[in-house]
Protein backbone atom coordinates (compact mmCIF):
# COMPACT_ATOMS: atom_id res chain seq x y z
CA UNK A 1 0.00 0.00 0.00
CA UNK A 2 1.30 3.46 -0.85
CA UNK A 3 -0.07 6.94 -0.30
CA UNK A 4 -0.94 7.18 -3.95
CA UNK A 5 -2.76 3.85 -4.11
CA UNK A 6 -4.67 4.88 -1.02
CA UNK A 7 -5.61 8.16 -2.63
CA UNK A 8 -6.81 6.38 -5.76
CA UNK A 9 -8.77 3.89 -3.69
CA UNK A 10 -10.45 6.69 -1.75
CA UNK A 11 -11.45 8.44 -4.96
CA UNK A 12 -12.89 5.19 -6.25
CA UNK A 13 -14.83 4.63 -3.02
CA UNK A 14 -16.22 8.14 -3.25
CA UNK A 15 -17.25 7.46 -6.82
CA UNK A 16 -18.89 4.13 -6.01
CA UNK A 17 -20.66 5.66 -3.03
CA UNK A 18 -21.72 8.78 -4.91
CA UNK A 19 -25.25 8.42 -3.60
CA UNK A 20 -23.97 9.49 -0.16
CA UNK A 21 -22.68 12.68 -1.66
CA UNK A 22 -25.91 13.26 -3.56
CA UNK A 23 -27.83 12.77 -0.33
CA UNK A 24 -25.67 15.32 1.46
CA UNK A 25 -26.26 17.82 -1.33
CA UNK A 26 -29.99 17.17 -1.26
CA UNK A 27 -29.91 17.73 2.47
CA UNK A 28 -28.08 21.00 1.84
CA UNK A 29 -30.83 22.04 -0.57
CA UNK A 30 -33.59 21.02 1.83
CA UNK A 31 -32.17 23.01 4.72
CA UNK A 32 -32.05 26.05 2.46
CA UNK A 33 -35.65 25.54 1.36
CA UNK A 34 -36.71 25.38 5.02
CA UNK A 35 -35.99 29.06 5.53
CA UNK A 36 -38.33 30.61 2.94
CA UNK A 37 -40.96 28.02 3.81
CA UNK A 38 -40.61 28.17 7.56
CA UNK A 39 -39.78 31.82 8.15
CA UNK A 40 -40.50 34.24 5.37
CA UNK A 41 -40.24 34.10 1.58
CA UNK A 42 -40.04 37.86 1.12
CA UNK A 43 -36.98 39.48 -0.34
CA UNK A 44 -36.72 41.77 2.67
CA UNK A 45 -35.97 38.81 4.93
CA UNK A 46 -34.08 36.57 2.54
CA UNK A 47 -31.67 39.03 0.94
CA UNK A 48 -29.73 39.92 4.10
CA UNK A 49 -29.99 36.37 5.47
CA UNK A 50 -28.97 34.51 2.30
CA UNK A 51 -25.28 34.16 3.11
CA UNK A 52 -25.99 32.90 6.60
CA UNK A 53 -28.60 30.42 5.39
CA UNK A 54 -26.24 28.95 2.81
CA UNK A 55 -23.47 28.70 5.37
CA UNK A 56 -25.63 26.99 7.99
CA UNK A 57 -26.88 24.53 5.41
CA UNK A 58 -23.32 23.84 4.26
CA UNK A 59 -22.16 23.22 7.83
CA UNK A 60 -25.01 20.83 8.58
CA UNK A 61 -24.53 18.97 5.30
CA UNK A 62 -20.82 18.64 6.06
CA UNK A 63 -21.43 17.03 9.42
CA UNK A 64 -24.01 14.67 7.96
CA UNK A 65 -21.78 13.61 5.10
CA UNK A 66 -18.66 13.19 7.25
CA UNK A 67 -20.31 11.11 9.89
CA UNK A 68 -19.84 7.93 7.87
CA UNK A 69 -16.34 8.89 6.73
CA UNK A 70 -14.51 6.09 8.56
CA UNK A 71 -17.46 3.80 9.27
CA UNK A 72 -17.10 1.43 6.36
CA UNK A 73 -13.34 1.19 6.77
CA UNK A 74 -13.88 0.42 10.42
CA UNK A 75 -16.42 -2.31 9.73
CA UNK A 76 -14.54 -4.17 7.00
CA UNK A 77 -11.16 -4.07 8.71
CA UNK A 78 -9.42 -1.81 6.21
CA UNK A 79 -8.99 0.82 8.90
CA UNK A 80 -7.07 -1.78 10.91
CA UNK A 81 -4.95 -2.51 7.86
CA UNK A 82 -4.23 1.20 7.43
CA UNK A 83 -3.11 1.44 11.03
CA UNK A 84 -0.68 -1.47 10.63
CA UNK A 85 0.46 -0.51 7.14
CA UNK A 86 3.44 1.46 8.41
CA UNK A 87 2.25 4.54 6.52
CA UNK A 88 1.70 7.70 8.52
CA UNK A 89 -1.92 7.67 9.57
CA UNK A 90 -1.94 11.47 9.75
CA UNK A 91 -1.19 11.73 6.06
CA UNK A 92 -3.78 9.11 5.25
CA UNK A 93 -6.36 11.10 7.19
CA UNK A 94 -5.41 14.26 5.33
CA UNK A 95 -5.72 12.46 2.01
CA UNK A 96 -9.11 11.17 2.95
CA UNK A 97 -10.30 14.60 4.04
CA UNK A 98 -8.95 16.03 0.79
CA UNK A 99 -10.91 13.53 -1.28
CA UNK A 100 -14.11 14.13 0.65
CA UNK A 101 -13.64 17.87 0.54
CA UNK A 102 -13.06 17.90 -3.21
CA UNK A 103 -16.10 15.70 -3.71
CA UNK A 104 -18.27 18.09 -1.74
CA UNK A 105 -16.90 21.53 -2.56
CA UNK A 106 -17.12 21.25 -6.34
CA UNK A 107 -20.86 20.56 -6.50
CA UNK A 108 -21.39 22.99 -3.63
CA UNK A 109 -19.72 25.80 -5.54
CA UNK A 110 -21.81 24.91 -8.58
CA UNK A 111 -25.03 24.98 -6.58
CA UNK A 112 -24.31 28.14 -4.62
CA UNK A 113 -24.99 30.63 -7.46
CA UNK A 114 -28.36 28.98 -8.06
CA UNK A 115 -29.39 29.11 -4.43
CA UNK A 116 -28.06 32.60 -3.90
CA UNK A 117 -30.24 33.70 -6.80
CA UNK A 118 -33.24 31.99 -5.22
CA UNK A 119 -32.51 33.66 -1.88
CA UNK A 120 -32.08 37.10 -3.48
CA UNK A 121 -28.46 37.45 -2.40
CA UNK A 122 -27.49 41.08 -3.14
CA UNK A 123 -25.48 41.73 -6.29
CA UNK A 124 -21.73 41.61 -6.01
CA UNK A 125 -21.75 39.44 -2.89
CA UNK A 126 -21.65 36.08 -4.60
CA UNK A 127 -17.90 36.26 -5.15
CA UNK A 128 -17.21 36.75 -1.46
CA UNK A 129 -19.67 34.01 -0.51
CA UNK A 130 -17.81 31.58 -2.80
CA UNK A 131 -14.48 32.69 -1.37
CA UNK A 132 -15.61 32.15 2.22
CA UNK A 133 -16.88 28.71 1.26
CA UNK A 134 -13.57 27.89 -0.37
CA UNK A 135 -11.60 29.13 2.64
CA UNK A 136 -13.89 27.91 5.40
CA UNK A 137 -15.03 24.47 4.31
CA UNK A 138 -11.53 22.93 4.65
CA UNK A 139 -11.79 23.88 8.32
CA UNK A 140 -15.25 22.31 8.55
CA UNK A 141 -13.98 19.09 7.00
CA UNK A 142 -10.82 18.88 9.09
CA UNK A 143 -12.66 19.47 12.37
CA UNK A 144 -15.38 17.12 11.15
CA UNK A 145 -12.86 14.35 10.65
CA UNK A 146 -12.05 14.54 14.37
CA UNK A 147 -15.73 14.11 15.17
CA UNK A 148 -16.07 11.27 12.69
CA UNK A 149 -13.16 9.44 14.29
CA UNK A 150 -14.65 9.92 17.76
CA UNK A 151 -17.93 8.33 16.76
CA UNK A 152 -16.61 5.70 14.36
CA UNK A 153 -17.44 2.77 16.61
CA UNK A 154 -21.01 3.89 17.26
CA UNK A 155 -23.82 2.62 15.12
CA UNK A 156 -25.85 5.81 15.47
CA UNK A 157 -23.22 8.50 15.64
CA UNK A 158 -24.70 11.33 13.59
CA UNK A 159 -26.57 13.05 16.39
CA UNK A 160 -23.68 12.82 18.80
CA UNK A 161 -21.32 14.11 16.17
CA UNK A 162 -23.57 17.12 15.56
CA UNK A 163 -23.55 17.86 19.27
CA UNK A 164 -19.78 17.50 19.51
CA UNK A 165 -18.70 19.28 16.37
CA UNK A 166 -21.19 22.05 15.65
CA UNK A 167 -19.91 24.36 18.44
CA UNK A 168 -16.50 24.28 16.80
CA UNK A 169 -18.08 25.44 13.56
CA UNK A 170 -19.45 28.62 15.12
CA UNK A 171 -16.39 30.81 14.53
CA UNK A 172 -16.13 29.83 10.86
CA UNK A 173 -19.83 30.46 10.33
CA UNK A 174 -19.76 33.75 12.23
CA UNK A 175 -16.79 35.17 10.38
CA UNK A 176 -18.06 33.99 7.02
CA UNK A 177 -21.49 35.52 7.39
CA UNK A 178 -19.87 38.66 8.79
CA UNK A 179 -17.67 38.93 5.72
CA UNK A 180 -20.74 38.58 3.54
CA UNK A 181 -22.58 41.26 5.48
CA UNK A 182 -19.53 43.48 5.41
CA UNK A 183 -19.25 43.35 1.66
CA UNK A 184 -22.99 43.92 1.29
CA UNK A 185 -22.71 47.12 3.28
CA UNK A 186 -19.53 48.22 1.58
CA UNK A 187 -17.13 47.64 4.47
CA UNK A 188 -13.68 46.07 4.19
CA UNK A 189 -13.73 42.30 4.55
CA UNK A 190 -10.27 41.02 3.66
CA UNK A 191 -9.30 40.80 7.34
CA UNK A 192 -12.24 38.48 7.94
CA UNK A 193 -11.20 36.26 5.06
CA UNK A 194 -7.75 36.07 6.62
CA UNK A 195 -9.26 34.99 9.95
CA UNK A 196 -11.30 32.27 8.22
CA UNK A 197 -8.18 31.05 6.49
CA UNK A 198 -6.30 31.07 9.78
CA UNK A 199 -8.98 28.97 11.47
CA UNK A 200 -8.78 26.46 8.65
CA UNK A 201 -5.00 26.37 9.03
CA UNK A 202 -5.35 25.71 12.74
CA UNK A 203 -7.70 22.86 11.90
CA UNK A 204 -5.10 21.59 9.45
CA UNK A 205 -2.68 21.30 12.35
CA UNK A 206 -5.16 19.86 14.82
CA UNK A 207 -6.92 17.27 12.74
CA UNK A 208 -3.88 15.14 11.80
CA UNK A 209 -2.86 15.12 15.46
CA UNK A 210 -6.22 14.27 16.99
CA UNK A 211 -7.94 12.07 14.42
CA UNK A 212 -5.32 9.29 14.53
CA UNK A 213 -5.57 9.13 18.33
CA UNK A 214 -9.29 8.42 18.15
CA UNK A 215 -8.96 6.01 15.23
CA UNK A 216 -6.29 4.00 17.05
CA UNK A 217 -8.36 3.90 20.21
CA UNK A 218 -11.43 2.76 18.26
CA UNK A 219 -9.86 -0.19 16.47
CA UNK A 220 -9.32 -2.73 19.20
Amino acid sequence: MTYFSYFKAECLVLFRRKQNLVNALLFFALVIVLFPLGVDPSKAFLAPAAGGIIWCAAALATVISLESMFKEDYADGSLEQLLVSGLSISWLVLLKVLVHWLGMIIPLLLLTPIFSEMLFLPDGVLGVLMTTLLLGTPGLFLIGSIGASLTVSLRQGALLMLLLILPFYFPIIIFSTSAIQAVASGLPYSGLLAIIGAISLLALVMSPLMTPICLKASVR
Binding site: R16, E72, D76, G77, S78, L83, V84, K216, R220
Partner: protein
Amino acid sequence: MQSNISLTISDLWIERGDRDLCKGFSLTATSGDIIHILGDNGAGKSSLFKTLFGLVSPVEGEVQLNGEDVLSYRDPLLKQSLYISHALGLKSVFTVLENIRWYFPKVSEADIARVLSLLKIEGYLDVPIKALSAGQTRRVALARLWLSDLPVWFLDEPFSALDMVSIQLLEGRIREHAEQGGIVFFTSHQPVTLLSPRRVELTA
Protein backbone atom coordinates in the same frame (compact mmCIF):
# COMPACT_ATOMS: atom_id res chain seq x y z
CA MET B 1 14.22 -10.96 1.93
CA GLN B 2 16.25 -10.35 5.03
CA SER B 3 17.39 -13.76 6.20
CA ASN B 4 18.06 -13.32 9.88
CA ILE B 5 15.28 -11.71 11.79
CA SER B 6 14.43 -12.23 15.39
CA LEU B 7 11.35 -11.22 17.31
CA THR B 8 11.49 -11.42 21.08
CA ILE B 9 8.51 -11.01 23.34
CA SER B 10 9.35 -10.84 27.01
CA ASP B 11 7.11 -10.76 30.06
CA LEU B 12 4.13 -9.48 28.15
CA TRP B 13 1.07 -8.78 30.26
CA ILE B 14 -2.16 -8.11 28.42
CA GLU B 15 -5.35 -7.09 30.12
CA ARG B 16 -8.73 -6.51 28.49
CA GLY B 17 -11.64 -5.12 30.32
CA ASP B 18 -10.89 -6.45 33.77
CA ARG B 19 -9.43 -9.79 32.77
CA ASP B 20 -5.80 -10.80 32.43
CA LEU B 21 -5.31 -12.57 29.11
CA CYS B 22 -1.68 -13.42 29.61
CA LYS B 23 0.86 -12.46 32.19
CA GLY B 24 4.57 -13.03 31.87
CA PHE B 25 4.24 -14.30 28.31
CA SER B 26 7.62 -14.75 26.64
CA LEU B 27 8.55 -16.02 23.22
CA THR B 28 11.46 -15.80 20.84
CA ALA B 29 11.15 -16.41 17.13
CA THR B 30 13.94 -16.33 14.58
CA SER B 31 14.08 -16.75 10.82
CA GLY B 32 12.53 -19.98 9.70
CA ASP B 33 10.19 -20.36 12.67
CA ILE B 34 6.56 -21.25 12.29
CA ILE B 35 4.64 -20.66 15.48
CA HIS B 36 1.15 -21.94 16.12
CA ILE B 37 -0.56 -20.00 18.89
CA LEU B 38 -3.13 -22.09 20.69
CA GLY B 39 -5.80 -21.24 23.18
CA ASP B 40 -9.49 -21.50 23.86
CA ASN B 41 -11.96 -19.03 22.45
CA GLY B 42 -11.34 -15.77 24.21
CA ALA B 43 -7.90 -16.81 25.44
CA GLY B 44 -6.41 -13.73 23.84
CA LYS B 45 -4.78 -14.92 20.62
CA SER B 46 -6.16 -12.10 18.54
CA SER B 47 -5.44 -9.68 21.36
CA LEU B 48 -1.81 -10.80 21.37
CA PHE B 49 -1.46 -9.88 17.70
CA LYS B 50 -3.26 -6.61 18.25
CA THR B 51 -0.91 -5.79 21.10
CA LEU B 52 2.11 -6.32 18.90
CA PHE B 53 0.65 -3.91 16.37
CA GLY B 54 -0.21 -1.30 18.94
CA LEU B 55 -3.97 -1.65 18.66
CA VAL B 56 -4.18 -2.82 22.27
CA SER B 57 -1.78 -1.46 24.88
CA PRO B 58 -0.11 -4.00 27.14
CA VAL B 59 0.11 -3.42 30.86
CA GLU B 60 3.80 -4.24 30.79
CA GLY B 61 6.34 -6.18 28.82
CA GLU B 62 8.77 -5.76 25.98
CA VAL B 63 8.81 -6.66 22.34
CA GLN B 64 12.01 -6.47 20.34
CA LEU B 65 12.63 -6.86 16.65
CA ASN B 66 16.30 -7.59 15.97
CA GLY B 67 17.10 -6.28 19.42
CA GLU B 68 15.26 -3.01 18.87
CA ASP B 69 12.34 -2.09 21.10
CA VAL B 70 9.19 -1.89 18.99
CA LEU B 71 6.57 -1.26 21.64
CA SER B 72 7.32 2.43 22.00
CA TYR B 73 8.24 3.01 18.37
CA ARG B 74 6.43 0.54 16.14
CA ASP B 75 7.51 1.53 12.66
CA PRO B 76 10.22 -1.12 12.23
CA LEU B 77 7.75 -3.88 13.07
CA LEU B 78 4.97 -2.44 10.92
CA LYS B 79 7.29 -2.08 7.96
CA GLN B 80 8.39 -5.72 8.23
CA SER B 81 5.16 -7.48 8.90
CA LEU B 82 1.97 -8.55 7.29
CA TYR B 83 -1.11 -8.96 9.41
CA ILE B 84 -4.32 -10.63 8.35
CA SER B 85 -6.92 -10.45 11.07
CA HIS B 86 -10.46 -11.76 11.48
CA ALA B 87 -11.65 -8.68 9.65
CA LEU B 88 -10.00 -9.19 6.32
CA GLY B 89 -9.55 -5.59 5.28
CA LEU B 90 -11.21 -5.94 1.90
CA LYS B 91 -13.43 -3.10 0.77
CA SER B 92 -16.85 -4.37 -0.17
CA VAL B 93 -17.39 -1.69 -2.82
CA PHE B 94 -14.32 -2.91 -4.70
CA THR B 95 -13.92 -5.80 -7.07
CA VAL B 96 -11.37 -8.52 -6.42
CA LEU B 97 -8.81 -6.91 -8.70
CA GLU B 98 -9.31 -3.44 -7.23
CA ASN B 99 -8.82 -4.77 -3.74
CA ILE B 100 -5.55 -6.38 -4.70
CA ARG B 101 -4.42 -3.33 -6.65
CA TRP B 102 -5.09 -1.21 -3.60
CA TYR B 103 -2.62 -3.22 -1.54
CA PHE B 104 -0.11 -3.83 -4.32
CA PRO B 105 -0.09 -0.94 -6.77
CA LYS B 106 3.29 -1.94 -8.19
CA VAL B 107 2.84 -5.68 -8.77
CA SER B 108 2.44 -6.64 -12.43
CA GLU B 109 -0.80 -7.89 -13.95
CA ALA B 110 0.87 -11.19 -14.77
CA ASP B 111 1.84 -11.85 -11.16
CA ILE B 112 -1.65 -11.08 -9.94
CA ALA B 113 -3.16 -13.34 -12.58
CA ARG B 114 -0.76 -16.15 -11.62
CA VAL B 115 -1.62 -15.92 -7.93
CA LEU B 116 -5.34 -15.66 -8.51
CA SER B 117 -5.34 -18.73 -10.74
CA LEU B 118 -3.32 -20.58 -8.11
CA LEU B 119 -6.07 -19.71 -5.64
CA LYS B 120 -8.77 -20.55 -8.19
CA ILE B 121 -10.38 -17.14 -8.20
CA GLU B 122 -9.11 -16.10 -11.62
CA GLY B 123 -12.67 -16.07 -12.95
CA TYR B 124 -13.81 -13.50 -10.41
CA LEU B 125 -11.47 -10.61 -11.16
CA ASP B 126 -14.22 -8.12 -11.82
CA VAL B 127 -16.74 -9.43 -9.33
CA PRO B 128 -17.45 -7.21 -6.32
CA ILE B 129 -16.15 -8.67 -3.07
CA LYS B 130 -19.60 -8.79 -1.56
CA ALA B 131 -20.69 -11.24 -4.26
CA LEU B 132 -18.12 -13.88 -3.20
CA SER B 133 -18.55 -16.77 -0.78
CA ALA B 134 -16.85 -16.71 2.62
CA GLY B 135 -14.04 -18.98 1.52
CA GLN B 136 -13.52 -17.13 -1.72
CA THR B 137 -13.33 -13.83 0.15
CA ARG B 138 -10.71 -15.27 2.45
CA ARG B 139 -8.73 -16.52 -0.51
CA VAL B 140 -8.67 -13.00 -1.93
CA ALA B 141 -7.30 -11.73 1.36
CA LEU B 142 -4.74 -14.53 1.48
CA ALA B 143 -3.54 -13.68 -2.02
CA ARG B 144 -1.47 -11.05 -0.22
CA LEU B 145 0.77 -13.84 1.08
CA TRP B 146 1.89 -14.66 -2.45
CA LEU B 147 2.31 -11.06 -3.55
CA SER B 148 4.00 -9.46 -0.59
CA ASP B 149 7.69 -9.64 0.31
CA LEU B 150 7.35 -8.83 4.00
CA PRO B 151 9.25 -11.27 6.23
CA VAL B 152 7.09 -11.54 9.36
CA TRP B 153 3.55 -12.82 9.06
CA PHE B 154 0.77 -12.73 11.60
CA LEU B 155 -2.20 -14.75 10.42
CA ASP B 156 -5.26 -14.83 12.64
CA GLU B 157 -7.18 -18.04 11.86
CA PRO B 158 -6.15 -18.14 8.21
CA PHE B 159 -7.66 -21.58 7.67
CA SER B 160 -11.22 -20.82 8.67
CA ALA B 161 -13.77 -21.16 5.88
CA LEU B 162 -11.19 -22.67 3.49
CA ASP B 163 -11.69 -25.98 1.67
CA MET B 164 -9.19 -28.86 1.95
CA VAL B 165 -7.28 -27.97 -1.20
CA SER B 166 -6.85 -24.36 -0.18
CA ILE B 167 -5.72 -25.34 3.29
CA GLN B 168 -2.96 -27.48 1.83
CA LEU B 169 -2.01 -24.73 -0.57
CA LEU B 170 -1.78 -22.26 2.30
CA GLU B 171 0.23 -24.61 4.48
CA GLY B 172 2.60 -25.10 1.59
CA ARG B 173 3.00 -21.36 1.23
CA ILE B 174 3.67 -20.94 4.94
CA ARG B 175 6.36 -23.62 4.83
CA GLU B 176 7.94 -22.10 1.75
CA HIS B 177 8.02 -18.69 3.44
CA ALA B 178 9.72 -20.10 6.52
CA GLU B 179 12.26 -21.90 4.37
CA GLN B 180 13.07 -18.59 2.71
CA GLY B 181 13.89 -17.14 6.12
CA GLY B 182 10.59 -15.63 7.15
CA ILE B 183 8.73 -15.95 10.42
CA VAL B 184 5.09 -17.00 10.57
CA PHE B 185 2.78 -16.69 13.55
CA PHE B 186 -0.64 -18.16 13.09
CA THR B 187 -3.61 -19.16 15.17
CA SER B 188 -5.86 -22.03 14.32
CA HIS B 189 -8.33 -24.24 16.12
CA GLN B 190 -7.76 -27.10 13.66
CA PRO B 191 -4.53 -29.08 13.73
CA VAL B 192 -2.30 -28.54 10.72
CA THR B 193 -1.23 -31.52 8.60
CA LEU B 194 1.70 -30.53 6.41
CA LEU B 195 3.50 -28.29 8.85
CA SER B 196 5.22 -29.10 12.09
CA PRO B 197 5.02 -25.73 13.85
CA ARG B 198 6.17 -24.82 17.31
CA ARG B 199 3.09 -24.81 19.50
CA VAL B 200 2.63 -22.06 22.03
CA GLU B 201 -0.27 -22.22 24.41
CA LEU B 202 -1.85 -19.02 25.71
CA THR B 203 -3.21 -19.35 29.22
CA ALA B 204 -4.22 -16.75 31.71
